[in-house]
Point group: C2
Chain length 392, copies 2
C-alpha cells in the first residue's frame, strides 16, 4: 500500500491557530538541516533567544524555545516551578486555564481553582482575595484565552500576585506578537507561548521565558523536575553558554521560528500590534453590520481571536464546512462548553490582513445566505470597507 506525496490544499487559516505562514518562513523551514551542535546552529539559537527576548519585552537570559507545542510550554512552566504538595492557584475562564490546573494536579500540587464564566476576565479584587486566602507558590492565568477570545488585563494583577510572594505564570500562547506581552515591566515570572499563533510560524515550538525569581524557585527545589525532557535546569546547559547536549533540537523548526521572529521585529512590535487592532476593528464592524455578536464580555475581546455567537438558526458544522470547502477558509468551532455556540475567527500574524477580513465577510455572507439567513446582503463587507477608509 503506498500513499501519495504531500500536497495540501491552500487554506486561509482564520481559526484559533495555526495562522497563515509567510513564504520566507516556509523557505527557512526547508533550509538544509545542520547538526544541533553545529556552530551555525548555535549562532541561530543565540539570535533566536535575542529575538524572543525582544518579543517578550524582557532581558531574561533564560528565554528559549521548548521543543514541543504551546501545551509543552505550559507544562514546562508548571513542572519546573511547582513541586508535589505546593499550593498553586489556577484562574479558569476557559479551556486553557483548566488545562493549567490539570497539569498542576497531575504533578501532585494542591491546586485552588477560581473561575469566571467563559468570555469574562478576572478582576484585581478576585486575584487579591485568592492569593491572600491561599498563599500559593504560584498563580497561573491566561493572558489571551484561545477558547473564548477574552483578553485578561495583567497590570494590577502582577503587582498583587508579587505582593503576596507568589510567582506569576502567564499563558501568552495567543497574545505573543499580537498584543503587548510586557514580561519585565509587569514582572511576569514565567511565560509561555506557541510558535503558531501571532508569530505565524508552523506549530511545533513553545517560546518560554523565566525571570530571576522563577530561576531562584527552581534552584530551591527539593526534588528533581518530574519531566526530564522539560527540565529547565538541564535545558539551561544547552541554551546557555556551555552548550551541553540535552536532546536533538528540532533544527528546521528553529530556523522557521528564527525567520518568523525576524519578520515580526522587522515590522516592529508597535506596528504589528496596531495592525492586529486595525483588522480586528474592520472585522468587528463588518460582523456588527451583519447582526453578528461577540461572545466575549464587553471591553475584553482580543483583536486576534474573535469569538462570535453563531447566528440563531445557523448550522455550525455546515457553515464551517462550506467556508472550508468552497472558500478554503478555516475558522474554529467552540471548545468545551462553547461547542456549537460560537465560532472563533482568528486574525493572527500573517492572517491579519485586509484581504482576510473582506474575503471572510463575503464568504460568511454567502454561507449564511445558503441557509436563508442573510438579512442585508453586502452589509458586512461595506461596513468593513468603511472602517478601513476611516482608519486611513
Amino acid at each position: 500500500m503506498s500513499f501519495p506525496r504531500i500536497q495540501p490544499p491552500q487554506r486561509l487559516l482564520m481559526g484559533p491557530g495555526p495562522s497563515a505562514i509567510h513564504p520566507s518562513v516556509l523557505a527557512a523551514l526547508a533550509a538544509p538541516t545542520v547538526g544541533h551542535l553545529d556552530p551555525y546552529f548555535l549562532k541561530i539559537m543565540d539570535e533566536l533567544q535575542s529575538m524572543l527576548r525582544q518579543v517578550f519585552q524582557t532581558s531574561n537570559p533564560m528565554t528559549m524555545a521548548i521543543s514541543g507545542t504551546g501545551s509543552a510550554g505550559m507544562e514546562t512552566c508548571v513542572v519546573n516551578l511547582i513541586e508535589p504538595g505546593d499550593r498553586m492557584v489556577a484562574c479558569i475562564n476557559g479551556v486553557f486555564g483548566g488545562r493549567m490546573a490539570e497539569v498542576g494536579e497531575r504533578l501532585g500540587a494542591e491546586v485552588t481553582r477560581i473561575e469566571r464564566p467563559y468570555g469574562e476576565v478576572f478582576s484585581p479584587e478576585e486575584i487579591r482575595d485568592v492569593v491572600q486566602r491561599v498563599r500559593p507558590k504560584a498563580l497561573g492565568i491566561v493572558h489571551a484565552e484561545t477558547s473564548t477570545g477574552a483578553w485578561q488585563p495583567l497590570d494590577e494583577i502582577a503587582g498583587i500576585v508579587h505582593d503576596s510572594g507568589a510567582l506569576l505564570i502567564v499563558d501568552c500562547v495567543t497574545s505573543l506578537g499580537g498584543v503587548p506581552v510586557e514580561v519585565d515591566r509587569l514582572g511576569i515570572d514565567a511565560a509561555y507561548s506557541g510558535s503558531q499563533k501571532c508569530l505565524s510560524c508552523p506549530p511545533g515550538l513553545a517560546p518560554v521565558t523565566f525571570g530571576p525569581r522563577a530561576l531562584e524557585a527552581m534552584d530551591r527545589r527539593t526534588r528533581k523536575v518530574s519531566s526530564w525532557y522539560l527540565d529547565v535546569g538541564l535545558l539551561r546547559n544547552y541554551w546557555g553558554s556551555n552548550r551541553a547536549y540535552h536532546h536533538t533540537a528540532p533544527i528546521n523548526m528553529n530556523y522557521a521560528l528564527h525567520e518568523a521572529l525576524r519578520l515580526a521585529l522587522e515590522e516592529g512590535l508597535e506596528a504589528r500590534f496596531a495592525r492586529h487592532m486595525q483588522h480586528h476593528r474592520a472585522l468587528k464592524s463588518g460582523l456588527a453590520a451583519m447582526g453578528i455578536e461577540y461572545s466575549t464580555a464587553p471591553g475584553c475581546g482580543l483583536p486576534m481571536l474573535n469569538s462570535i455567537r453563531i447566528p440563531e438558526g445557523a448550522d455550525d458544522v455546515a457553515v464551517r464546512g462550506q467556508l472550508l470547502n468552497q472558500f478554503g477558509i478555516e475558522i474554529g468551532g467552540g471548545l468545551g462548553p462553547m461547542k456549537g455556540k460560537v465560532w472563533r475567527v482568528g486574525l493572527m500574524g500573517e492572517t491579519a490582513q485586509k484581504s482576510s477580513v473582506l474575503l471572510f465577510l463575503a464568504a460568511l455572507e454567502q454561507c449564511l445566505n445558503t441557509q436563508g439567513l442573510c438579512p442585508s446582503p453586502g452589509a458586512g463587507v461595506a461596513a468593513a470597507n468603511e472602517e478601513y477608509l476611516k482608519q486611513r
Copy 2:
C-alpha cells in the same frame, strides 16, 4: 539589532543524527500549513500511522508520532507505563539506557539498574537474572545505543521478559529504518524512535508504538499520567477515531515524516536494511585499512552508527573541526565517558551512500595527514572501493 535570514551551510551529516534529508522531505516540510483538524491533515495522520506500523513491523493501532524529539518518545513510554513505586529495570550500556533510568526515577519508580561496559550488550542470562530477582513491571533496553554504536540482540530477551510478566520497552531511536525492528514478532510492548536518524526526516517528532499489553497496563493505572502533554490516554483520542483536540500538532513536521516514511517504504525495508549494511561494510574495510579500530565489542557493532577509537596522537577537536570546516562533514564526538576517546560516524538513512563513505575516508585521511598520522595514504579509500566491487 537585526539578524540575517537563515542560510545554513550545506553539511554532510555523518554524526549520530540528524542525518541527511532527501530534498522531497524538505519540500514536504515547506508545504502549505493546514489546521490540525483539517480533513486533509486527518488523512495524513491516518497514512502516517499506517506507514509507521509498517516500519515498526506491527499492527498496533496505537502507533503514532509524539510531538517532540526522540527523548520525548522515551519519556512518553516510561511515564505512561510506570507509576510511582512501580519496579522498573533499566539496562545501561550507554548514555541512553542511563537516561531511561533517570526518567523512571524522576517519576518515583523503584529503578534497578543493570550495567554493561560502554560498547557491549546484555546477554539473555543477565536479563533472566534481573527479571527473576526484581520482578519488575517493565524492563527498558536500548536496541541501538547511539552513544556507543552497540547493537543489542532482542530475540531471546523479549521472551524472557514476557515470561517474567514484565513489559518490554525498547529504545529504537537509532535502529528504526536502519535494521529490523520487529515489534510484533518479538512482542515488544512499547517502542520509541526519533524522526532524525535512519528515517532521515528533520528532528522534532518521536514515532512510538504500544502493544495490547501496554495499553492494558495503562488502563489499569491507579493515577493519572504525570505529564498531560505526553498522556497516551488523551493522545489516543486525537490519533484515534474521534479526533478530539488535544494539542496543536506540528503540522509541517508531520508532512515531512510522512514523506520520509513514504520514501523508506518505496525503497522497501529489506533493501534499506541491506543498503545500511553494505555501506557500513565498505566504511569498516576502509577504516581497517587505515588502522582505525571500532570501540564496540566484536560482533555487536551497528551498521548505521560506527563508533571508532580516535587514533593514538590524533587531536579529537581539531580533526572534527577540520572535517566540518574544510569538508563540510559532521561526525560526532564521544558522549559521557567516551568523550575524547571515540568518534561516532553515522551512516543513517540518506547518509548511507557510497559518496558519503568515500568522501569521509578521503577527508579523514587528509585530516590525519595534517597531524602527521597517515601511515599509508590512499589505503582507506582503496579498501572501501574494493569492498564495493566485491559486493557487486
